[in-house]
Each structure stands twice: as structure tokens, then as C-alpha cells.
């Protein structure tokens, strides 16, 4: 049986400052090596100063993954030499001398599959290496330390996945969960990275390192299974090894054996005293934690009668569920859920579009009210949306500007119905035997009125004509 285990690295991108100093956690906006200080540069004499907020956020992740939390949290040093590591050791967490990382064993349910979480740990991200030069002879390595010391949470799973599809489902759920907790923005470049270990029946465990995005993680796992199966089918043994993900060629490459022999000489980081996780701190965190995705979904279904599928889509995306929460009331909830999932999602489907959008929860509420009061049709609402997204103008202005007001005048409408009936004689014939064709004729009326025709009145008029 194929076994896949994951190590997910998620940056706590929403924190104000780095893990051990007051430099910005959001390093992305800075020119190279301008978001640094003696502490994150590991200058002689500097000491780490723990960011308590990072511990709180990491603990929230652990709680959301149903992990146990330790009585005391400790940090360890992982010793190895690398140019992106200013101190030549990384401050991280470890559970081999008792559970002292922010999260112990936990689990997450995907469909009817339970994925066990081994631990959740908090650590510092190293700097970034940038390679320049075309050939290996004139290649130079540049180091940007802006990222050094930013808070990173590592989520380690047991080898409970059986195929890349489960991996993808897990990653979707996990990134929604992290976003819902407000700890991280998974869409930021480099915010999510991963290592994976993959073994097939009869083969050894292979570790894949340096996977730079969730998208590539699924690909890497898929590639690795195929590679191993191909070896296996030719009776070539699969050695236990570490492989690197080459994100340009989208393949895994065997790492030099030297890298596998690293001995990290872990020991306790004495500069950070043990941190007691008192019950009242945990209680406070639990209180502060936003409602979980599954509980949101449950509430949307039971309280507002929103269909399960719509509730699922709505609850798992923080952007849309925040919009929903801000705009809905008892009466319009279903309507708003509908507008979001059927019309709005297609308009702001990328991060960029979301950021440019001038759409607010007020527009959403107004739209639902306008539909429910019969001021405009659903169709008109759909037509109004792109304009709202673009301009952010009040709905009333847009209705006036685009002339979207509901057409319910029977006299006006019956003229148009007459037109349609005379133009579509073939369909009119069919309609007598096949009632479905009536919808086609309603559509034609809608076309002529740019969607403004009141659907109920149109239907009544059409049926009268066809009798």
C-alpha cells in the first residue's frame, strides 16, 4: 500500500513581527537586507526575545488540528551550517525529550478519512538564497536575510495518505483552516512550503524536500509514486533516500548522500526559558479562536436552510464567509448565500481581483433587499454585480445608471410577449406539447428586456397566450 506523510511549513504571515525580534514578519515589501537587526542577523552578543503572539497563534493551529497541548513549551537548537542561516543553527522545537512543542498528537477528518497529526511546532524561517550567473563557474550566491527569523509553523502528519488526491483534499482543508484562523495568508508567495515522504508497497521510504507550494506538493507526490512504481515494476530496489523537488523541471532529484548524514546535535535553547501553558491561557485562546469551518457550515445549514453544497463553499473560504457574516440577516441569508456562490465568486476568483474589488457587504445586503422587495430581478442583480465590483457605487445609482429597474408593467410586457410569440412560431408550436419550452420563451423575453422582466408576470402572460 502506498503511504504518504507530510511536513507542512506555514508562515504566520499575519503577525506583526518576527519570532525573536521586532523586525517585520511581512518581509515581502522590503529591499534585500533592509528588514534586519542584530538579533535576526545573529550578531555576536544578541539574544532571541520570544514573540508571545507567535506562540498563541501556533497554539491556535494546534487546537484547530485537535492536537494535545503541552504543560510547558521549550525551544531547541538544530545545528547545521548553511549560508541562509545567520547563526548556523535554527531555533525550533522537538518532542524527543517529552512533548514540549506547541502541539502534540492530533487529527483532522477528510471526508471519512482520519489523518493523524504527529505534532505542530514553531520555528524560525531562514533567509533566502538567490543564485545569479549562468554557468556553474561564474555562479554567485546572494543572501537576503529579510526573511530570517520570521515565524514558521511546521505541521507534521503520520503517513496516513494513500494517494495524491487525499493529499490535495488535505491541503485544501488545511489552507482554508489556516486562513479561517487568521494566522496566515496561504496565497502569498512562499507562505506554504512542504516536505513529503512517500513509500510504495515493498519499497523504502523516500523523503522529498524543498517543495515550494501546495500545488507542487501534489505534483511531487504524484511524480514520486510513478517513479517508484516504475522502478518496482522493473524489479529495481527503491533505496531509502532524500530527494529534492526541482520546481523548474517538476521532477525529484536524489540529494547528495552527504546531506542525509547531517547530525543536528539538538539541544535545549537556554536563551528562551520554558513557557508554561496555563489553563487560563488555553481557555482564552479557545475563546479568541474564530468559529471553525465545520461549525460555520453546520450553522448555515440548520439556521438559514442553506443547501449543504452552498454552505460548504461559503464556509470554507474566509473571504466569502466574512462577507456573508457581515451582510446577512435572518430574512436575506439564503438570498445572499446565493448571490455570493453563484454570481460573485466568478467575478473575484483571484487574489488580485479581490484586492481591486470595490464590493462591500453593504452592496450585498442592498442587492438581496432589492431582489426580495421586487425592485429588481435576480437577472438584473447579476448584471449589476460587475459594475459594483468595478466602481463601488451605491446599488441605487447603478440601478438608475444601467436602467435595471424591474419591468412589471403588464401592458409593456405583453407587447414584448406578443413580439416573442410571433417571432418564435416553431417554439410556440412545441410548447403546446412540451411545457419545458415555455422556459425558452421566458428566456427570449428576458433577452429583449435585458433581464428586467418580472419573471412571474412574464410567465403568466406567456401561458395565457399559449392557451
Amino acid at each position: 500500500m502506498t503511504k504518504i506523510g507530510l511536513e507542512i511549513h506555514s508562515q504566520l504571515t499575519n503577525l506583526e513581527s518576527k519570532l525573536f525580534c521586532s523586525c517585520k514578519a511581512n518581509y515581502r515589501e522590503y529591499a534585500p537586507n533592509t528588514n534586519i537587526c542584530p538579533i535576526c542577523m545573529g550578531l555576536p552578543g544578541s539574544l532571541p526575545r520570544i514573540n508571545k503572539k507567535a506562540i498563541e497563534k501556533a497554539t491556535m493551529i494546534a487546537l484547530a488540528l485537535n492536537c494535545s497541548t503541552p504543560e510547558k513549551i521549550a525551544f531547541f537548537r538544530k545545528n547545521y551550517f548553511y549560508p541562509d542561516l545567520p547563526k548556523n543553527f535554527q531555533i525550533t522545537q522537538l518532542n524527543i525529550y517529552g512533548d514540549t512543542s506547541v502541539g502534540g498528537p492530533g487529527h483532522i477528518i477528510i471526508g471519512d478519512k482520519k489523518i493523524r497529526i504527529t505534532r505542530v511546532q514553531l520555528e524560525e524561517d531562514p533567509g533566502r538564497l538567490i543564485y545569479e550567473g549562468s554557468s556553474s563557474k561564474n555562479q554567485i550566491t546572494l543572501v537576503d536575510y529579510n526573511r530570517a527569523g520570521t515565524p514558521l509553523v511546521e505541521i507534521v502528519t503520520e503517513p496516513d495518505f494513500e494517494n495524491p488526491k487525499q493529499v490535495r483534499e488535505f491541503l485544501n482543508i488545511l489552507s482554508n483552516l489556516l486562513e479561517n484562523l487568521g494566522v496566515s495568508d496561504p496565497s502569498l508567495d512562499g507562505a506554504m512550503r512542504a516536505d513529503a515522504n512517500v513509500s510504495i508497497e515493498g519499497g523504502n521510504k523516500v523523503e522529498i524536500k524543498n517543495i515550494g507550494s501546495f500545488h507542487d506538493l501534489e505534483k511531487a507526490v504524484h511524480f514520486e509514486i510513478t517513479r517508484q512504481e516504475s522502478l518496482h515494476s522493473r524489479n529495481i530496489p527503491i533505496p531509502q533516500e532524500t530527494r529534492h523537488w526541482d520546481d523548474k523541471r517538476k521532477i525529484t532529484i536524489s540529494a547528495r548522500s552527504k546531506e542525509e548524514e547531517l547530525d543536528y546535535r539538538y539541544f535545549l535553547e537556554g536563551d528562551i526559558p520554558w513557557i508554561r501553558m496555563e489553563k487560563d491561557i488555553l481557555d482564552m485562546l479557545k475563546k479568541e479562536m474564530p468559529e471553525s469551518i465545520s461549525s460555520k457550515k453546520e450553522r448555515y445549514i440548520s439556521k438559514y436552510g442553506i443547501p449543504a453544497q452552498v454552505a460548504d463553499v461559503l464556509s470554507s473560504d474566509k473571504f466569502y464567509s466574512d462577507l456573508f457574516e457581515a451582510s446577512h440577516n435572518e430574512k436575506n441569508a439564503k438570498e445572499i448565500a446565493n448571490i455570493i456562490t453563484t454570481d460573485l465568486m466568478g467575478l473575484v476568483d483571484t487574489r488580485e481581483k479581490r484586492e481591486l474589488s470595490k464590493f462591500t457587504s453593504v452592496h450585498l445586503r442592498d442587492l438581496a433587499d432589492a431582489i426580495q422587495s421586487g425592485m429588481i430581478t435576480r437577472n438584473s442583480a447579476k448584471n449589476a454585480l460587475p459594475e459594483i465590483v468595478k466602481t463601488g457605487k451605491d446599488l441605487s445609482r447603478i440601478i438608475a445608471d444601467l436602467d435595471l429597474g424591474n419591468m412589471s408593467d403588464e401592458f409593456e410586457l405583453s407587447k414584448i410577449v406578443d413580439e416573442v410569440v410571433s417571432e418564435e412560431s416553431e417554439a410556440v408550436k412545441q410548447a403546446k406539447s412540451n411545457p419545458q419550452t415555455v422556459n425558452y420563451l421566458v428566456g427570449k423575453v428576458m433577452q429583449k428586456t435585458k433581464g428586467k422582466a418580472d419573471p412571474k408576470i412574464t410567465m403568466t402572460l406567456l401561458k395565457k397566450k399559449l392557451e
Partner: protein
């Protein structure tokens, strides 16, 4: 300093005299690696403050020397290593900024064994410091420059660092007071780490009162060092409280095999004097002491191997072009600048905590540390203080012990306990033997630093040593 405060002499004159004395003496002592050329200018600023009636800090221009592993902004901080020969600290250590606020003047950076690893300053990459009592003898270490500069009146006080006795040992050898506080009492921010889980910055002064004065300024919680404790105290007030009725244990494992007869006799005299002050003394046992030196070297090597790993010469250090090297070969080349003792300890530090060996060495050392702590805390239920000679042997000549591991073991054995257990310990100059000082050590339980100073002050009051002959 009294004359300065009374206005008999200006800060500028006093500073000039101090600098002049350093210029005169330091050819033979070599306590200083770097003398502050701005000292006179800084003194003038303080004089101006005094004249204009502005508030002047408690130090009043007091000349202080600083061990060269503590960062002073815009000043070279070398750790007496070639590896950091060009490193200029971009910030002040917390102890430095606190002293600056009180108008101290740093007359210079003083010598040490490279990265504070050693007991004689013979491992300084810039040549050893000499003992002001007899320049043929070592000053102790690693804060040998601190102790010698205070002893030779080249400054009023110094800050050293004590990882396994590095403040107390040279204080004992140079006939001055050296104090290693409770772990966490003084911020280590800006102290270049050697073994960060057990070391502390400590003052070296000529009197216990001066140590209390220094402690009032430099101790206390620091948001830049998460290991600091918040226990505000006035160490000067009540310093003469005495030790009447106190119970004192004499640590037998520290006056046993190999002790110099002169040191043993001094210890007995100290007991007599302490009893004369109203304390009761009796023999006490700390069984784990016999493993303490091995545990100490295992833990310090492990932490040093990690703390010193950052010196890869990529960001600072000394001039060595990177062209033509791959990363690993460059740092291997760069790191050949470390001296022999540092290299030895880092090799050891790569081994004792490594996979497959940690169980036999590093983890065992941690166990010793834990047991020793439990044992000493048990003793402190019964005793207010524990005493022992600071070093069981007398100061020795250059080259005499550097290759004799047993002798060096004896140099460490009485001091490492305070570091491994985090307890405060002070060395008070007590007697001379053939013109060489012997220091007596007093230990107390954690956060009893004030009480240690009271006992030290009481013992000091029974002592009158001749002036240093230099």
C-alpha cells in the same frame, strides 16, 4: 573617586591620571586590548554637567574596564580572537547602556582567554595578561584582564563574565573581589555567548561595597534577555548587616585532594574569623562535585560548538575574500583563525552531543547538573551559606600548568558548581602566601545575592592585605 565627588579633582583630571597609569603599567601587565581614546572628552562632558548643576549619574565618571566579550557600540569587540579581530559592535550591551546612563567612563576593553575559554589568559590571541602581584605569574582567567586592571589600579571596577569561574578565579589570583550572581540577575544581552545556559556577567572590584554599587546599576530585568529575573534590590543598603547567627557549611569536596597547604590553612583561618563574627560553621558534603568538572566541560563544549558556529566570516570577522571557494570550504578555511583551545572545545562540542554519543556524554552531563542542583538546594535548607576556597591552589607561573590537565582540573573544581547550579558566588581576597593572593568563596541560594554580599562584606572587614606591589 571620593575626591571627584567632593570636587577636589575634576573628572577630566581623574580620567587623565587613570589613562596615564594604564600607559605606564600596561606594558608589563597587558590588561588592555584597547584603550578608549575618547575617555578624556567624555570626562569633560561630565565635568560640564557637574558645573552647570545638571543631574549627574551615580558613577560620576568612574573609570571602568570592560572584558572584550561585552559589546560597546562602535567599539571593537574581539573576544581576544583573530576570528573577530575587525568586529565593531553596532550596539551596546544592556550592562553598558545602564552604566552609560549613570555617567561611567569606559577606559578600555580588557584581555581574556579567547572567547572566555581558559583560566590564565594564556589563550588570548593577543598575548597573556600578567598578575600585578608578580608579573611572572598568571592573573587567572578568563577575565584576567578585568581582574588585573582593577588590581593594578588601572580602573575602579571592571565587568567580566563567569562561565565556570572566569570572574572569581582571576579575582582570587589578583587579590580583588569577583562576583558571579544568580543566573538571570544581570542581562547577558551584548555578552558574546560561550555557554549561555550557565554564564553570567559579573563585576570585579576592589571592595565588596563597590560590587554592590555596580550591581545596583547593571542588575535587573531586561526585555532584551528573556532569562533575566525581576528582583529589584538595593544591594548597598544593609550591606553591613553582619552574619551573626548564620549557619555556614564548608564544602569538603572543595578542600580535599590536591589542595595547597597554604590554601587549606587560609580556609581554616576564614572559618575561625566567620565564627568570630557570630556564625556557626560545620563540614558539609556535595557528592556530585567530583563529576562537576567533567559535566561542565561537556555542557560548555556543546553550547560553545553551537554558539561559535556563527563565526563563518561571511558577515563580519576579518579580511578573507570569498572568491574561488564553495561555502563549506570557505568556512572551513575561515575558521582556521580560531586558536587551539577554542578549536579543541568546538571539536569536543561536535562530538559529545552528537547522535549515538549524546546519551553517554551530553545527557549524562545534564543529569549531573540536575543532581548537583538538587543536592546544593538540599544543603541550603540547612545552611545560609556554603564556603570553600575560590581556587584550591596558588597562582602559578606562565606555562607551568597549561599542559597539566590535573592541575587545571583543580583550578576549575571549586568554581563550576555555582555555574552549573545557577547560584550566586563571590570571591573575597583573604590572605597572601609568598606575596600571592588567596581568595575565599561564599555561595548562597538563588536570589540571595544581597545576602552573599553581606557575608562577603563581613569577611572582608576582617582582612587587611598589603598594597599591590606594582
Amino acid at each position: 573617586m571620593h575626591q571627584v565627588k567632593n570636587g577636589d579633582i575634576s573628572v577630566e583630571e581623574f580620567t587623565a591620571k587613570t589613562i596615564e597609569r594604564i600607559r605606564q603599567l600596561d606594558d608589563s601587565i597587558h590588561a588592555f586590548l584597547h584603550v578608549n581614546s575618547d575617555a578624556i572628552e567624555q570626562a569633560k562632558v561630565i565635568d560640564k554637567k557637574i558645573k552647570s548643576g545638571e543631574k549627574v549619574g551615580d558613577c560620576f565618571g568612574m573609570p571602568i574596564s570592560i572584558k572584550d566579550n561585552i559589546c560597546i557600540k562602535d567599539t571593537k569587540t574581539t573576544c581576544a580572537s583573530k576570528m573577530l579581530q575587525d568586529f565593531v559592535a553596532p550596539y551596546d550591551a544592556t550592562v553598558i547602556s545602564r552604566l552609560k546612563q549613570q555617567d561611567a567612563i569606559f577606559v578600555g576593553k580588557v584581555n581574556l582567554d579567547e572567547f572566555a575559554m581558559g583560566l590564565t589568559t594564556e589563550f588570548s590571541a593577543y598575548g597573556p595578561t600578567h598578575n600585578p602581584w608578580n608579573v611572572d605569574y598568571v592573573p587567572g582567567g578568563s577575565s584576567g584582564g578585568s581582574a588585573a586592571s582593577v588590581s593594578a589600579f588601572e580602573c575602579v571596577a571592571s565587568l567580566g563574565s563567569d562561565t565556570g569561574g572566569s570572574v572569581r578565579n582571576p579575582a582570587s589570583f589578583c587579590g580583588v573581589v569577583g562576583f558571579k550572581p544568580t543566573y538571570g540577575l544581570i542581562s547577558r544581552f551584548g555578552l558574546i555567548s560561550y555557554a549561555n545556559s550557565i554564564e553570567q556577567i559579573g563585576p570585579i572590584t576592589r571592595t565588596v561595597k563597590d560590587t554592590a554599587f555596580m550591581l545596583n546599576i547593571v542588575s535587573g530585568h531586561d526585555s532584551n534577555d528573556d532569562t533575566t529575573v525581576d528582583n529589584p534590590q538595593d544591594y548597598l543598603s544593609g550591606i553591613d548587616a553582619g552574619i551573626e547567627g548564620k549557619k555556614i557549611g564548608i564544602i569538603q569536596e572543595m578542600v580535599g585532594d590536591g589542595i595547597d597547604p597554604a590554601v587549606l590553612s587560609a580556609t581554616k583561618n576564614a572559618v575561625t574569623k566567620l565564627e568570630g563574627l557570630g556564625a556557626t560553621c560545620e563540614d558539609a558534603h556535595l557528592e556530585m562535585v567530583k563529576y562537576s568538572v567533567a559535566a561542565y566541560y561537556t555542557i560548555t563544549a556543546t553550547e560553545a560548538g553551537s554558539n561559535l558556529a556563527r563565526y563563518d566570516n561571511l558577515l563580519y570577522g576579518y579580511d578573507l575574500p570569498v572568491e574561488g571557494y564553495e561555502f563549506n570550504s570557505y568556512i572551513s578555511k575561515a575558521r582556521t583563525k580560531f586558536g587551539p583551545e577554542v578549536t579543541r572545545r568546538m571539536i569536543l562540542g561536535g562530538f559529545v552531543p552528537s547522535a549515538g554519543h549524546a546519551g553517554r556524554y551530553f545527557l549524562k552531563a545534564l543529569k549531573v547538573k540536575q543532581k548537583l542542583t538538587r543536592e546544593i538546594e538540599h544543603l541550603f535548607k540547612k545552611y545560609d551559606y556554603l564556603i570553600a576556597p575560590t581556587v584550591p591552589i596558588l597562582p602559578f607561573k606562565f606555562g607551568e600548568k597549561i599542559d597539566d590537565p590535573i592541575a587545571l582540573f583543580l583550578v576549575d573544581i571549586n568554581t563550576v558548581t555555582a555555574n552549573l547550579t545557577g547560584k550566586p558566588a563571590i570571591s573575597v581576597p583573604f590572605e597572601l602566601s609568598n606575596g600571592l593572593p588567596i581568595g575565599m568563596q561564599i555561595l548562597a541560594n538563588s536570589n540571595e545575592d544581597k545576602s552573599v554580599l553581606q557575608a562577603a562584606h563581613a569577611l572582608e572587614s576582617t582582612v587587611k592585605l598589603p598594597e599591590v606591589p606594582i
